[in-house]
Amino acid sequence: MNSTSKKFAGALTALALAAGAAGPVAAQDDTFKIGVITFLSGQAAESFGVPAWNGGKVLVDMLNEGGKLPAPYDQKGFGGMNIEVVLVDEAGGATKQVQEFRNLVQREEVDAVVGYVSSGDCLAVPPVADELKAFTILYDCGTPRVFEDNTFEYVFRTAAHATMDNVSLARYLKSRDVAIESFAGLNQDYAWGQDSWADFTGAMAQLYPDAVVKTALFPKFGAGQYGTEISALLRERPTLVHSSNWGGDLQGFVIQATARGLHERSQIVLSAGDHVIPQLQQKMPEGIYLGARGVNGLAAKARGGELQELTDTLWDAYEAEFGVFPVQAPFRMWQALLGLKTAVEKAMAENGGKKPTNEELAAAMKGLSWDAPSGRIEMALADGHQAIQPNAIGTTKWNAEKGAMELIDIEYFDSRCVNPPAGVKSADWIAQGFPGAQCD
């Protein structure tokens, strides 16, 4: 027994030593260290995590070089400080992420954390961020619950939550006078799919009160095979089929559904479908209505206006580096990093040019608004902690000349048209018929 105690002592000593060795790697004053967490493995790596960080890397490199982007983003790094990145894989579940978050803040001593695609992680991390008083940006995840169920001081989400995705879809249908007698859904069987379907049916109940819900299918996440589900959808013959699937699940569904002619029988609408266009190309059928969870990807490129230069600069750099055009994920990473840059520089303007503390950063970020390739981002909800942004829905159309899939009939929705106003929960807002919505 005594020897076991010694063993135990040995392990603890080793741990203490490792702690020491890994110890203070705190950033200097001329560097701003960010922890970036996104999926590098697993199913979300291909669709979100890797493109997001590819975009992030392009932007960070350009910023560190300085003067590559149009004003107001022409200053080097964050307020002149060099940006240093610690990258962590988001795969492995919320338990792991909470531990990694603590490690990033307490061991790596990062100045800010930017991350999280999975809504589970976005719910798990904020309480810890507040406990550690660590400035944290949620850059991608969709669940409205983060700030509707809780309030946090040091946590900000720079992307709109998922409500606007499905509200925009329903508005698009209505504004184009698409007749809908019945609709059905095929969504992944986890929170994202369940919430998206609830939002879509809620929005449809307001805009198409007579449309009948035929069937709601929830195949397992990562199922890959949709043969049976497609049979069910073919049998039910709904006017419209809604899906919030993403990544491999969406690609598999589209390939299998189009092979069996589902798109000829029902109108298919995809709330987050833009990111599979570069991969599917011609395999993506024409006439699909789809969104990009914001004015991202093709919709941003097609928008024009004063943000064109910023968009094109990043778009071209990304395309040159990776040989493919950027879809929604890099746009969300860009808006997060540009927001962080704006906040850091605002805080430095106020504190006399020192590297801002967590408190100063949080104060600067609160209620901030800034321009990103995806449009004007406004931290308008949850007491200045939750962003709203414009959205766009378009229709797929194959351009045979260019040999590329395009979006046509794009409709742009103002932030305040598809997002609830401050103080109203998304679900209530939809159920009450979008009170306070400001649409052109």
């Binding site: 590098l40 493995s41 990562g222 690609q251 069996r260 599917l280």
Partner: protein
Amino acid sequence: MDLAATILVDGLIYAGWLFIVSVGLTLVFGVLNILNIAHGSLYAIGAYAAASMVGAYFAWGGDAFPYGSYVAMIVAALLVALVLGPLLERGLLRFFYGRDEVLNVLVTYAVFLILEDVMKLIWGVNPYFVYEPYTLLGDVEMGPLFYVGYDFAVIAAAIIVGLAVWLSLNRTRMGKVVLAVIHDSEMSQTMGVNVQRIYLGAFMAGAFLAALGGALTAPMISVTPGLGVNVIIVAFAVVIIGGLGSIPGAAIGALMVGISRAASVHMLPEAELFIIYFVMAIVLLFRPEGLFAKTQARKI
């Protein structure tokens, strides 16, 4: 087409796929007594290999004879078996024969983790597509529904695989020796059977079947990281239902799961997630070792 017929067709298509992905698992368990979690990785690698191989086939002028892509898929699965089979069995697993079953599950779990990242290193995270073989066989109209001809090809492939495995086990000398090893490896060792060669052969066959499952699935999906993890649990369930080590058991298990899942999707979509465990629980309640388990009489 009425509901029952739709359920049957959908169920058969899914069962065909389930059988192909689980028969290799049960074969490997029967012979090596190892429940191979890395079976899922071999499935995924098979899918990647097929995607690369079919892609290369069309890149090198395969358009003239697109049906050759099916050959490319099978060749891809064979390659996976030939490379990874000996590597894993000779290089690793053989050191764990006769050890605790659960320890062996962990060994293969470690292999699974390693292969997950190895796949990323080889193929990256971008998806691979090879949909040509999927649409090549045309549509099949059944009443108001369309099916893809390829779906039925999968059923046919499952039947061919099943027959091939059954025939080679029961109608060849080698197969009978394998059956003897499944029954009692110690006894066959004393009878002069080269058990090592049997183990290697069985593992390679298992790897081939896993990779073939992946290769056949590749055209219907986008081949992306994380593909293997979802296959393991369903294949486990099918194999447990049928009885570990039983080939007919895997067939019956696949049919039971396939058809009950199809019924659930059409009639009670909420229950789809649970149906596989439900079938498993019911079967094990009445037959604790699965439907066709090998009996383990012990001499005392």
